[in-house]
């Protein structure tokens, strides 16, 4: 347990260090570029690059006159987006895992479907999103579910590819060993292949967690869904000249939402490894 605390403390310190370095670079850039009169690549003025403390303070100013502070409104938006992302992540994760299992069981199905799985990822999400929204609307799905499906679209691919790789990772002699026990395909799957695939699957889940947040943010736009991060980010970018710090503050929160999700998966991964390597070290 002491190890877990130390790990959290170490993570906290390194996050703090990254923030300090980032602030120094940002403010240093502004200072030097202003002093030298440089304007490229980015103008150092307060409209284009607001002071870091202004961005930070913007978090605590009311979002609207006499309303709750910006940070509360945006955290609520982030929660909504995260919920859509999470549902999409679950759907995409399940589909990806299912495809991985299907492909490892049947080379024919891999040959038949894998090209489409790969091709699906070459179609930009921006093009897919409106279609999903329209179809979801026709099918009377709630709007948030359409957004989740868009998030799932980005999620399933890494999970499918890595699951397949992981399921194939056991050494041939391990497969022969299972064969010598006359084990059924599902015993081979659950006792050998899936445990062996777990490190691969966790890697994919971390990528997918981040991707699902992006999918949800992008999906909110064509869905015209209010109250999430997507809509707010769009709105603040339109108001950029008037209040640039708001956009930066919202981006900050969107980033934190993604980090929180990936962090959750990483924590699960550590728990899984911990449970299996209790006696290591």
């Amino acid at each position: 347990m002491g190890g877990a605390n130390r790990r959290v403390a170490r993570a906290g310190i390194s996050i703090l260090a990254v923030i300090v370095v980032f602030v120094l670079l940002w403010e240093g850039y502004k200072l030097i570029w202003t002093a030298m009169g440089w304007e490229n690549p980015v103008r150092p003025d307060n409209r284009t690059m607001p002071h870091t403390w202004d961005i930070f303070l913007a978090l605590f100013q009311p979002a609207q006159r006499n309303g709750p502070p910006f940070i509360l409104v945006e955290l609520r938006a982030a929660l909504m987006t995260l919920r859509e992302a999470f549902v999409g992540f679950l759907i995409g994760g399940a589909v990806g895992f299912g495809l991985g299992v299907l492909f490892v069981r049947s080379t024919i199905s891999e040959r038949a479907f894998m090209p489409y799985v790969v091709a699906s990822q070459t179609v930009p999400i921006i093009a897919i999103a409106p279609m999903v929204v329209v179809w979801g609307g026709r099918a009377n799905l709630p709007q948030w579910l359409s957004v989740s499906l868009i998030a799932a679209y980005l999620t399933f691919f890494p999970v499918a590819i890595n699951t397949l790789r992981g399921l194939r990772s056991p050494h041939p002699t391990s497969m022969e060993l299972m064969r010598s026990y006359a084990s059924t395909p599902s015993e081979v799957l659950w006792k050998l292949q899936v445990p062996a695939a777990m490190p691969y699957i966790f890697t994919a889940l971390k990528v997918s967690a981040a991707a699902s947040v992006i999918g949800a943010i992008v999906g909110e736009l064509p869905a015209g869904l209010r109250g999430g991060l997507g809509r707010d980010l769009l709105q603040f970018s339109q108001q950029f000249t008037a209040a640039p710090e708001k956009l930066f503050a919202a981006v900050l929160i969107a980033g934190l939402a993604g980090i929180a999700f990936v962090g959750l998966i990483t924590a699960l991964e550590h728990r899984w490894i911990g449970a299996n390597r209790r006696l290591a070290a």
Binding site: E176, R179, S180, Y181, A182, K191, P195, N276
Partner: protein, 262 residues
């Protein structure tokens, strides 16, 4: 005298087709009696591992007949008649030593209550008492291989197949493991087919040494090891032991020159 555990007649195996065709084994006649300890020895490419895999129904023969425990090899595998040990221990990293030994018992639907007891007995048998809660990567190579042997014997198979099980171990560990295997063999009465490329190992362990030669793999000689059944450090200094080592060595040389001439 009971029926042989393994009976092969005119057994042959060809891998691949057309241009890529390789004849791994040709015309194998082999009989292994119950309780025998038979070593298959020969240079690499002589098909000794393939012969072992044929017995275990991990590959299928191209020609000839093979009977294992009085059945088709496939039926014998489905009946879990044999345990197998490979050159690498192939333990599952995410399982404790105890759970690794229990793996075949889980698959073979042994009662929940019986599995831990039996696994512990097997760990006692290979002298790994108290290591059940360790994980494979915490053990030395020799200890890992002992776990693999415990796992192969956990369901009390009639036949133990070993494919160069000590090939990756250092000489000292290797000799200790050989002694270990002989003790286990004596205590369990299992028939053993043991693939090796070490002449002293084959002579020390076996009741019979089957000498094989390559291209295509075939049996070129069989040598009965008439050393006393109880073998220990003294056996390794027994003049008869040296004679047998030389006999096997010469048989191997004859096999080699025979194949290069053909």
């Amino acid at each position: 005298m009971s029926a042989p555990v393994v009976e092969a007649r005119g057994l042959g195996k060809v891998f691949g087709t057309g241009e890529a065709e390789t004849e791994a084994l040709r015309g194998i006649d082999l009989e292994i009696a119950e309780g025998d300890f038979v070593s298959l020895i020969g240079p690499s490419g002589c098909g000794k591992s393939t012969l072992l895999r044929l017995i275990g129904d991990l590959v299928s023969p191209t020609t000839g007949t093979l009977v294992v425990n009085g059945k088709e090899p496939r039926q014998s595998r489905l009946d879990r008649d044999y345990g197998i040990v490979f050159q690498s221990a192939t333990l599952l990293d995410w399982r404790s030593v105890q759970k690794n030994v229990e793996l075949p018992l889980e698959i073979m639907d042994f009662p929940d209550a019986e599995r831990p007891t039996r696994a512990r007995e097997m760990l006692d048998l290979v002298q790994l008492t108290g290591f059940g809660d360790h994980h494979p990567w915490q053990l030395s190579g020799g200890m890992q291989q002992r776990v693999a042997i415990a796992r192969a014997l956990a369901f009390r198979p009639a036949l133990l197949l070993m494919d160069e099980p000590f090939g990756a171990l250092d000489e000292m560990t290797r000799e200790a493991m050989q002694q270990e295997v002989l003790r286990v063999w004596g205590e369990t009465g299992t028939s053993v087919v043991f693939v090796t490329h070490s002449i002293p190992e084959a002579v020390f362990l076996s009741t019979r040494v089957v000498v094989m030669s390559p291209r295509p793999g075939r049996i070129s000689d069989e040598i009965v090891v008439d050393l006393p059944p109880k073998r220990d450090l003294d056996t390794r200094e027994d003049p008869r032991y040296f004679e047998l080592v030389i006999e096997v060595r010469e048989a191997l040389r004859r096999g080699e020159s025979g194949s290069s001439g053909s």
